[in-house]
Amino acid sequence: MYAASATMNKDDFFLPHGKLNIRRLARFISLIEDNPEEAQADLAQVYCENHQALLLGITGPPGVGKSTLTDRLIAHYRSLDKKVAVIAVDASSPFTGGAILGDRIRMSSHATDAEVFIRSMGSRGNLGGLAPATMDVMNLLTSVGFDVVLIESVGVGQTEVDIMHLVDTVLLVLMPGLGDDVQALKAGMMEIADIFVINKADKPGAQQLQSEIAMLLSLRQERLAWTPPIVETVATEARGIEALTAAIAQHSEYLNSRHAEEKQRKRDHRFQRMVQQKILTLALHFLQDNQAYQQWAREASAAAVNPYAAMRDFENHIKLKWEV
């Protein structure tokens, strides 16, 4: 469907009068999702560092109002005349690979705004709350000039911490009445939050949740230069959005001026992720095309051998026979 050209560059994403060619952008995103290897060369051409872009991650358990909050944040940044892109990740079925992506239902008031680009993404087997293509697509969107990129992660639970390495500011959205979930959250999720959002704060228990979070934060052994603020919102009524965007602006300022090394740390993480992904892709490609491996794999799995012994055998094969 998508014809990759050897000469693609950033200008190819713009129409003659300077407007973004949405169709081409959207198709290129599909190529990144379907065939990331093929997209790499073009991505390298298109990529340009956009230091001004605000990269925001929105995560939290299902049903806390992440999409509605995203909708309000779009409206806020549009009121400042920013170009806004959203990547909304939802879970793909592990059985069929299919997905129902419904996050944009809550964002439909922005559907025809030419300066807002919303893309739904199935997680396609990725754990960690994002999709394999999320980082590349984020880089593409900032490269073609979006001022704000909002990434809404899959709301599943405690493992979706990938988002912290990708964006500059992570909003962890919670709501009153989650009860024991907050206890569960304290392990992994609490640490990724740059800002806590208590959404549906008009429901009973908001004050208690606020105290619980504050208590957990005070237990931190590490002395951090940034103390995550706790902001209460009622996204359906657009309440608390100003306080939230003020907190986001403060965090950006903190990253930009006082602690550039923090920003660099996230960039380093992203880079490591890319290297890891590349190693895996190259290795899998190599094995796919390697007759000796194919045969070994058939024999090993047919023989129902001890898997630990098989792995040792595999390592020896790689080192000796396949001349890696």
Partner: protein, 131 residues
């Protein structure tokens, strides 16, 4: 990696009943497709903008209000204006048989009426999407 079929399921116009649309969305998901579901009361303009941003291969419009002869051709026309008429457009819902030829003349590739099976629709999409 495989190229995944992406389908937008939308409800144009004002009727407030989306059980059929949800049923189809679920069936397509179970067939391994990625379904972008936008819910009730979408305008033709928002449907087309969404389809382009999401780079879908097909759009399924569910309509029960009786306004199909206006709304469905309008979506087809807007797709054409945006240079996106290669996106497969189909409709479903309570649509009288005598209206179907008119719709097919106006850019709706197929119309599924009550009683159509989900496997029929899945087969139709797999056969007709670009790629």
């Amino acid at each position: 990696m495989e190229e995944k079929i992406r389908v937008l399921i939308a409800k144009p116009g004002l009727d407030g009943h989306d059980r059929g649309a949800k049923f189809i969305a679920q069936a397509l998901r179970d067939a391994g497709m990625e379904v972008i579901y936008t819910g009730l009361r979408q305008t033709p303009a928002s449907i087309v903008a969404t389809a382009i941003q999401e780079d879908v291969d097909a759009i399924g419009l569910s309509i029960l209000s009786g306004a199909h002869n206006t709304l469905l051709p309008r979506v087809a026309q807007l797709l054409k204006e945006k240079g996106a008429e290669d996106i497969l457009l189909f409709g479903g819902g309570v649509i009288p048989a005598e209206d179907i030829p008119y719709l097919k003349e106006h850019g709706i590739k197929e119309v599924f009426t009550p009683g159509a099976s989900s496997s029929e629709i899945i087969e139709f999409i797999r056969t007709h999407v670009r790629r």
